[in-house]
Symmetry: D2
Subunit: 336 residues, 4 copies
């Protein structure tokens, strides 16, 4: 930790900061410049709230040196984490990209879902995604089929052999969702629902953690840290676009550089969701290719048997045929 | 709803959109320009997902005309909502600003909290705030005293006559928190935790809803809509800064114009939290004054008996004396 | 300057960085932690491009300690700068707020401008603002009357005694604009037009520098540094809103905390432009009051004799009567 | 244009808006809903400032239907523009990607520049880029060699056969830069320097227009419209990252979806600059691949013979060997 003192700070103020840090077990190195003094405090940041230093008399700024996460970082584990999703499917490291496809919401009547599932399987996807519990911006929008939706998903798994990924929104529902799903998903707007993160740390299934709509990469990694610290190391990070200055042509801004950044700082697998990242169907193909070229460990893509009549997110869903065409292109790209 | 067709859209595509809308009960007006056709669909937006129209062949864009919220809007209730907080304190409309003060976290040992409570009372505050359940970005930061903290707050209420406001983070904890608190608070990072919003709609206590770290005003109002739609009309909105492009000098950007904007579109009371909005102590005074000048119905201010040793947010907390000085200035401003 | 080494950095890499810095005259202090080494380089940052260090082997990050600006900062001048605008009007320090009012664009026919000028004078404004050269997002929008507009402004000054502030867009036009205007304005989109900044450093008139649409406060202060470094110390900074995540209800987000932040770090006067900051007429009054409450040294407000027929920015202009009403309210606020 | 009236708007207010529009030649269609009335105004938007309507009594909002640009849009020209850069190199449409490489700044001593030029040529680049006039955030940073730098570039062209691209910052310098360069570049911070845009519309050389640090795609296209409207149709758009919420790990956020969005709405060629978009060397390779996978017509990459000693942007420059390795990978990708 680096503590930058104000140019006007006097010696007593400098010593007060040093004493406080030393009393907590930090070793202090003084860096006295012509204009200002800078203290380097060597020790475990967790011993102190940096903000409490920042408010001491004479302190201008406190700068952290180490990343605040531990378990998700390369410093605690150098090699890539590879997560076993079941059915022989693995994600992370040098495994080929895992493709997760399916409708935004599981809707009334299982036939559409089965069409998508068969199509996805045929095209080469490994995971069927679909929401039974739906977080919606407006209370007047479709809120999901809940347990009925989970049953449909389980039936689709039985028929196709695909793995099932679905969202859980609230701690009391974890047991129910975990009973049906192979992979549990935390939605973007729940990325900092810390009670949910902690509770999912007790579950023995892989977790897909979606990046919050405006989360920094550091906040994203700290959210994953919550899950691992609570006991579940099988976290898959999902870049799904963040809010930006311009939402006229795309719903979000797809932060594709986050993929290699996360791979540099963390050992966890990272996938991309070009459907939510852009919100527009014509962008799914180029953004899927770009994500794979950037090194993503997998993709999550919205596919619907009849997007014009979808209960949610029709505008960013591919038809089954469009998904098959995309998969052919991705296979060429991966071969290269 | 306005549906803008592509310049190349053909007559069949235009008619397909019109038919779909008519089948749902919308009345259609055609606006045929030289370059493109625009359909106006008159009827209840809730009958359709606009995104599903956006994906139809030939459609360029769907524009909503009406705001998507109902119960929070001026169209459902013209006059300002005034909420009775208890102890004769009312908030909203032309009521004088309600001041809520207290530490970020309730900390071990009740003495500090009592010092703050007595000081706040003396300076003219009506509500004591303090977190017993703490949402923290890192799992290694202080997570709150939980029920013990609630007990401290209740004791401080008994001794000072202040009302108590405290945060609830998860649906299973609502009962416990509601047992102790006069006002329940939803933290910024839970603004779109829809299960929590719905559950708080069933509680018979006023709710402070903090704006999400990057929530648009519309999303903020829709979150309030969830609570009211579930049955609880007593929602107080709290502007607490949003993420912006520049976080070097301030933690967030204080969106002060949101106060009069919300007052124009909604009848709900709106307060400001200059501590979280800026993250820096020297800004609390000018930003408190600015918020009152802009028409805020109240303020929520972090005050700590010893900020340099606070468990959280020390850098953005006032000392008790600084808080008293601020209150003197605000009284002058309100008199004017 | 602080250089954070990677945890894996070896001793040679650490020494290479130290040697490079020493060869440039820096003094090095080593801070060796358990996980990583941090070098503090004491000396003048201007001797090196920090980015060139950042690319050396083994370097994780370079952190600047001192602000990169000098002449605009409090370290070079503790007391507030007070700038003499002419006609006995001074701005900055403890001077009462200076009010600048007028139409966005100077338009065909001088009568409207004169109406605004007489009204502004009567209400207590000191400066008439109006654009003769207009930077417009679209080439099809009104581009300004150019010299004819400058002549109108000069005539309005003669008739009312108001000072004249107007924008200059390009280096070859500086001479012409300076011939007519008392105060030259640099528009937001030219805030980093460095050739213009340098050229205005050679002009003997006060400069209003508007903050760029997405400029950080540091970039804003560095732009002012260009002007002062080139020879003109009379710079007035103008906060006019920055781009934010939500542009649905307001054109920009009014970064009101920037006012006290700038006053803390710089001695220059800082004013606010609530018209551009919000883009909506109903927000000008509350935001003007908030800016004064936050400590602004002045305001720049768009006033038009007939906003519904303005050539530009009608939606964010006050009528003359609305401006008079606002001025009465501001007088009450300043008295307090 | 769509004019949404307030729910409370009375018939006189509605008719006033209609009359004003009719007097300007618009045809009006009334859409009367249960809650509010919406007017569709059919005609040329350029006849009116939409903002002036927005301020009329009873108007809630004005929505534009057509994009405000004309000449850059697909509506004025369906097929892709292919621009001849000279030396047989073409860019746009189905041409293979054009690679532009070179140092951020041209520096003292031509040898380094020649090393880069020979290396770039050998690796397959077609254009040498390098700044002789440098826009720098701080006045204390290196400002460029000016004409001497242009001479070096010309010599490198003569020796290698590469085309030369370099930046022009101010209208009086256009003649000088155009004398030496094959392609003129407008820097990000000058994207809305309208005088410069207009003046470059009179020049008979291709222009690379970089996207402003926070420009929306629409503002970007309107800036290009200025150049074409002034007479020069040969504009190449360059995505170079925009400001985002998180600048901790990357300098900007690389808006890669802008590439296919621009290709959908405009016929102009669009290239990407992964060096400025990310600011970090390790991201140039994955982001170059992603940009090509997303459909970019070319890349602009910073390459330096000795990045650790570069006068600017060393941290985001490749060495010559790294550039050669990147080019091998891109060739594989393009073959696919």
């Amino acid at each position: 930790m680096i503590i930058v003192m104000e140019p006007q700070a006097n010696e007593t103020q400098i010593q007060n900061v040093a004493k406080k840090l030393e009393s907590l077990g930090f070793k202090i190195v003084f860096n006295r410049g012509e204009v200002m003094t800078v203290l380097a405090a060597i020790g475990d940041k967790r011993l102190i709230e940096p903000a409490s230093l920042a408010s001491m008399e004479g302190v201008r700024e406190v700068k952290l040196i180490q990343e605040p996460y531990k378990l998700v970082g390369r410093e605690s584990k150098m090699e890539d984490s590879v997560i076993d999703l079941g059915h022989g499917v693995k994600i992370g490291g040098n495994q080929p990209p895992v493709i997760m496809a399916g409708p935004c919401s599981v809707e009334k009547g299982i036939d559409g879902l089965l069409q998508v599932a068969y199509g996805a399987k045929e095209a080469g996807a490994q995971v069927l995604r679909g929401g039974a519990f739906k977080p919606r911006t407006s209370p007047y929008d479709f809120q999901g089929l809940e347990e009925e939706g989970l049953k449909y998903l389980a039936e689709a798994r039985e028929k196709t052999g695909l793995l099932i990924a679905t969202e859980v929104m609230d701690t009391p529902e974890i047991g129910l969702v975990a009973e049906y799903a192979d992979i549990l998903q935390i939605g973007a707007r729940n990325m900092q629902n810390y009670k949910l993160l902690k509770a999912l740390g007790k579950v023995n299934k892989p977790i897909i953690l979606k990046r919050g709509p405006a989360a920094s990469i550091r906040e994203f990694l700290l959210a994953a840290e919550y899950i691992i610290y609570a006991g579940n190391p099988n976290v898959i990070l999902c870049e799904r676009g963040v809010k930006g200055l311009d939402s006229h042509y795309t719903r979000n801004i797809f932060d594709i550089a986050a993929i290699p950044v996360i791979k540099k700082y963390s050992h966890l697998p990272v996938i991309a969701d070009p459907s939510h990242a852009t919100g527009r169907r014509f962008l799914i193909e180029p953004m899927s290719k770009a994500a794979i070229a950037a090194g993503a460990h997998g993709l999550m893509i919205e596919v619907h048997h009849d997007p014009d009549n979808a209960s949610s997110d029709g505008a960013q869903s591919l038809t089954i045929d469009q998904f098959k065409a995309l998969m052919s292109q991705l296979k060429l790209l991966c071969k290269q």
